[in-house]
């Protein structure tokens, strides 16, 4: 089966980007909006077609999902080592195609309403196009280097979109922060790639992931500081993933990234780009699993678990609704990571892998929904802060309903999509690692709590008096909300375990009833608490926070991580390293060169007395010269 046409999926948005980018000034805003939407819907259509083709027509050959690769050489290193550009079709890439195209399309539509009247309208859609292109390219990558290339590209489009309001200093610094932190993580990724390329002599995923392949079998051949170099490489690559997926401690860029327009947060920082890290680990899952008995995989698990807990705690105390969602995203990403971390490989063992991808899918939907809902709210009240909201259910019913659905979904309430995926994750965790399971279940509770704190805070709670009454958003904004709401409701019934598994062989997923009950109970408890605290305006919350005192303060300030980073960059990099170097360069290196020149001049000033102008001194010099030369060459230097 020939999947070459898939190449169009990324190329169409690219075309849109170029069109809008180059003729930025010429094109009317309305037109540019249509161009963007049209392009994306084509890609989306193609993605769906591909998915259908792959999953139900040609993908499965005697029970195993095949990998289809179309590629061409991009640059040669040696006759064996080369970077290829191409497309790789396998379950997860197809799944990602769906996710990216749906969300991106929705966001495009949504933005036509949300960004209306903004003077950078065209630029915005151009950047969206660029991002979609990069993201499609990333998910379709056939080898480590290609994925790195598009990895960088999504990074830069995220930079551009966060810094979209480029006259706002906060936006600019947020964009810089996002780019530099992820870039720093990518450094690890790159070095990892270098190691892999040297020891396995290839970048190709197929070759690397082949469980019988030399890459996996010969991991033990070389070791460095007690660990196999391959393990090191995998850890480094995971650092790259952690940077993109905002895992602790590289998470700090994500909250600030909320400076970008809300649709962007929905698209990039909730649904697609941030899951790139998860996708990367899933992409290399066989290596992570087999090399050195999954040493690297355990790291993934623990980092994921900790991040999800960490983020969930912080999320409770934030008052900027987008930041709450950001931390929630981070927490959910941690969930996916830990799912991968505890996953096995073949058959039902691989439930974690499946669950992670499943959750990736569902989460993308309801988290995007949440963000878009939040966007619609912000659009209405022109503020990000809970204190300026409340009682909005009367004004914006659709937003209210859809937001509620999403909140329920993320809290894992039966039968919404979130319930299924989260349940699978907990099952996997329970089967492999009780500690992580404990964390997971606790986080589930927290999630439910802060989500409903948010929900009640926005739509119920105090009846704020608005200067000009907020109203429901334009259809172009509510339509995507509804679509996504539908998916969030029914997405859970997609038989993922049939389609997407580590070993490509589907298995029969069965609900683990007791665990499911526990999870649901915990979730409902969280919701209940939130109800008590925030349904009606009361001072319970304040009393609690006062009771917690210091802990609350720390949490509220996100455990001062920004400050630490600030200290490192400002004081260490700038003042302790860069400044001394600049000084050293001026004074010492340059000074030496200067010195040589100056010394010459000084000497020439010093010796000018020789030329005294007295003819007799000259004569003396003459004779002295003769005598000295004579003495030297007659008696001393006689060779």
């Amino acid at each position: 089966m020939d999947f070459t046409y898939v190449i169009l999926i990324p190329l169409i948005p690219l075309a849109a980007f170029l069109l809008l980018g180059i003729f930025n000034q010429k094109i009317k805003p309305a037109v540019s909006g249509y161009i963007g939407v049209a392009g994306l819907s084509t890609s989306a259509a193609l993605s769906f077609y591909t998915a259908y083709q792959y999953f139900f027509e040609v993908g499965k050959v005697d029970g195993v999902y095949q990998t289809f690769v179309e590629k061409t050489t991009w640059i040669n290193f040696t006759d064996t080592l080369a970077i290829d550009m191409g497309i790789l079709i396998d379950p997860i890439s197809v799944m990602m195609l769906i996710v990216v195209s749906i969300i991106s399309l929705m966001v495009h539509i949504y933005s036509r309403g949300y960004m209306k009247g903004d003077d950078g309208y065209t630029r915005f859609f151009a950047f969206l196009g660029l991002f979609s292109f990069s993201m499609f390219g990333l998910v379709l990558a056939t080898n480590l280097f290609q994925i790195y290339i598009f990895w960088e590209l999504v990074g830069v489009s995220s930079f551009l979109l966060i810094g979209y309001y480029y006259t706002k200093p906060s936006a600019v610094s947020a964009a810089k922060k996002a780019f530099i932190v992820t870039r720093f993580a990518d450094l690890g990724f790159l070095i990892g790639i270098l190691i892999i390329s040297y020891y396995t002599g290839t970048f190709d995923f197929e070759t690397l992931n082949n469980p019988e392949g030399s890459a996996i079998l010969s991991w033990a051949s070389t070791s460095f500081m007690g660990l196999s170099v391959i393990t090191w490489a995998l850890i480094l690559i995971f650092i790259g993933g952690a940077g993109k997926s905002a895992m602790f401690p590289l998470h700090i860029w994500l909250p600030d990234a909320m400076e970008g327009p809300t649709p962007v947060s929905a698209l990039i920082h909730a649904a697609t780009m941030v899951v790139a890290g998860v996708y990367l680990v899933a992409r290399l899952f066989p290596m992570y699993y087999f090399v050195e008995d999954g040493f690297a995989l355990n790291i993934v698990a623990y980092v994921g678990a900790f991040s999800s807990l960490f983020a969930a705690i912080i999320a409770i105390t934030q008052t900027d609704i987008k930041r709450v969602l950001a931390f929630s995203t981070m927490s959910q990403l941690g969930y996916m990571m830990l799912a991968l971390g505890v996953s096995g490989y073949d058959g039902h063992e691989g439930v974690g892998y499946m669950a992670s991808m499943f959750h990736l899918f569902t989460h993308a939907m309801f988290k995007a929904l949440l963000f878009l809902g939040a966007g619609s709210v912000i659009h209405a009240v022109h503020s990000n802060y809970l204190k300026d909201m409340g009682g909005l259910r009367k004004y914006m019913p659709i937003t209210n309903i859809t937001f509620l659905i999403a909140a329920l979904a993320i809290s894992g309430v039966f039968p919404l999509s979130g319930f299924w995926s989260k349940d699978e994750i907990l099952v996997a965790a329970f089967e492999h690692n009780k500690l992580i399971y404990g964390v997971g279940i606790f986080v589930a509770g927290l999630t439910a709590f802060y989500m409903f704190r948010l929900y009640f805070g926005i739509f119920w709670g105090k009846d704020t008096q608005y200067k000009h009454a907020p109203h429901e958003s334009h259809i172009s904004m509510t339509f995507p909300l509804m679509v996504l709401a539908l998916i969030s409701i029914f997405g859970g019934f997609i038989p993922f375990s049939e389609l997407i598994t580590a070993d490509r062989v589907g298995f029969e997923a069965h609900i683990n009833i007791p665990l499911a009950i526990v999870a649901t109970v915990v979730g409902l408890t969280g919701i209940g608490l939130a109800y008590v605290f925030y349904k009606k305006e009361n001072d319970l919350a304040d009393r609690f926070s006062n009771a917690f005192g210091v802990f609350y303060k720390w949490t509220f300030n996100k455990f001062y991580f920004d400050e630490i980073y600030l200290f490192v960059t400002k004081n260490i990099i700038f003042n302790r390293i860069a400044t001394p170097i600049a000084w050293f360069d001026k004074k010492f290196v340059d000074g030496t060169m200067e010195g040589i020149g100056n010394k010459t001049v000084v000497i020439s000033k010093k010796i000018k007395g020789i030329q005294s102008g007295k003819v007799q001194d000259y004569a003396f010099g003459f004779i002295a010269g003769v005598v000295v030369l004579a003495l030297v060459f007659i008696y001393l230097w006689t060779n």
Binding site: S604, F622, I623, G625, V626
Partner: protein
């Protein structure tokens, strides 16, 4: 010996005739037309130069005390061309002297007799001829240095030159006497037979070397140079810096490569030391100079130091590179002095600061100056680069890499002060720059020839190959 032998020294005879002719013609030309003497002199000397290009067979007459061969003959031609250019450049000045101060033609007579002296010096076959030639070339210059009888510095220059010259020739005579003592003859061809390396010979050689180094102004025998150049009329300084220095280098090279060859183990070290001293001292002094003449004086000292890099080899390669370099050096330095002369003639300004913003008013002069300085500094594609590069190659061929390195360091230093002048002319601004002026025909011609030389000599390689063949004569 028959009279046809005299024809073999026809250059000398012709020059002598011209000199006498000018002397006599002064009597017949009326006061009012005196200035036509200049044209006459230039015309006659032009003929002389032209005639010089006819071939002369190798010969050795008067019992070997006068000898000539193709290289010597070639070099005499080089000197001729140099002097001719010099005449062109100084024509206006001397005309003004003749008309204004009612001076006679002594300038030409002294100049030519000094040149005659050099002819004899470089084709000398024994020390006597050499000595006479040396003195004949030095004394008239001393007189010329004091030519501006009304200027104090001119007389000071004259007295300094004559006294130092006397001392120098005294010293070298003393040396020659020792050489005579060891070898028993003053004829070169006898000395070559018998010379051996012993202390007296070495002493004699060093004294002799000092005497000649004085004319080449090598450190530490260079002190007179700057003062004399500054005090003397520009034409004379220019003459001193190119013609007499060139001739001295040539004869020194010949003697060292022929009769003193057995002492090479001594003089290669000697030259090594002197070369370094000369380059460094010359450059370090040149750095500070403000007066252009003085500046060029020290620069010419440094250049002499570079010449020694060729001298150190004692091979045909060395000979060829030296002659080649000296030729290029003559053109470059004459160009530089020519510009200085033109400017000081029109404005009387001789300081570097006066040159500020020269390019804006007199672009052509500045360009000539820049070319000349680049040639002196050894920047391609002008000739100076090739001259220097080949000198370094010669030194390196003997494995003196360290010496070459230090020499090239000196090139960098020299580049600095040459660029100072360029900076003054091109970059610096000036409230009252030297106003634009047109040069007379002779001056233009003089500068033009030098420019052509600077541009062509390096790129036109057959010339070097020709010199190389000629150089076989002394090895």
């Amino acid at each position: 010996m028959n009279f046809s032998n005299f024809l073999l020294m026809r250059q000398e005879i012709l020059l002598l005739t011209i000199t006498l002719l000018l002397l006599v013609s002064e009597i017949f030309i009326s006061k009012s037309k005196k200035s036509s003497l200049v044209h006459l002199a230039i015309f006659l000397f032009g003929i002389h130069t032209a005639v010089g290009f006819f071939h002369i067979d190798e010969c050795s007459i008067f019992g070997g005390s006068f000898q000539t061969n193709n290289l010597i003959h070639f070099f005499k031609n080089v000197l001729n061309i140099g002097v001719f250019i010099l005449l062109l450049q100084s024509a206006d000045w001397i005309e003004e002297k003749i008309v204004g101060e009612n001076r006679g033609t002594e300038f030409f007579i002294l100049l030519f007799s000094s040149l005659l002296g050099m002819y004899f010096m470089i084709s000398a076959g024994d020390f006597l001829m050499f000595y006479i030639g040396l003195e004949l070339s030095t004394l008239p210059i001393a007189a010329l240095a004091a030519y501006e009888t009304t200027k104090r510095i001119s007389s000071e220059a004259g007295i300094k030159l004559i006294l130092s010259a006397a001392l120098a020739s005294g010293v070298s005579l003393f040396g020659i006497s020792f050489l005579y003592a060891t070898s028993g003859s003053i004829f070169f061809h006898d000395i070559i037979e018998v010379i051996v390396s012993n202390n007296l010979t070495i002493l004699g050689f060093i004294l002799f070397f000092a005497g000649l180094s004085f004319k080449i102004s090598l450190v530490p025998f260079h002190f007179w140079t700057a003062d004399v150049y500054e005090g003397a009329p520009i034409s004379v300084s220019s003459y001193l810096s190119v013609i007499s220095k060139g001739a001295a280098v040539f004869i020194l090279m010949i003697l060292m490569f022929t009769i003193f060859k057995p002492l090479i183990h001594v003089w290669e070290n000697l030259v090594y030391v002197v070369a370094l001293a000369t380059m460094f001292i010359g450059n370090l002094f040149a750095l500070r100079q403000q007066n252009m003449k003085r500046f060029l004086a020290f620069s010419s000292i440094a250049q002499a130091g570079f010449i020694l890099l060729g001298l150190i080899t004692g091979t045909q390669l060395g000979t060829a590179t030296i002659v080649y370099f000296v030729m290029i050096y003559i053109f470059s330095n004459l160009a530089a002095f020519g510009v200085v002369q033109a400017i000081s003639l029109k404005t009387g300004k001789e300081n570097m600061d006066d040159y500020n913003g020269l390019y804006r008013t007199n672009p052509n002069l500045s360009l000539v100056m820049m070319l000349a300085l680049f040639s002196l500094a050894g920047i391609p594609p002008v000739a100076g680069f090739f001259g220097k590069f080949f000198l370094f190659t010669a030194a390196a061929s003997k494995g003196y890499y360290l010496l070459v390195f230090l020499a090239v360091v000196n090139v960098t230093i020299s580049l600095y002060y040459y660029l100072l002048v360029v900076r003054a002319m091109f970059i610096r601004k000036n409230e009252n720059p030297i106003p634009f002026f047109k040069n007379k025909l002779y001056m233009k011609l003089g500068l033009l020839i030098t420019v052509i030389g600077i541009l062509a000599l390096g790129l036109y390689s057959p010339l070097y190959d020709y010199i190389y063949e000629l150089s076989a004569a002394f090895n």
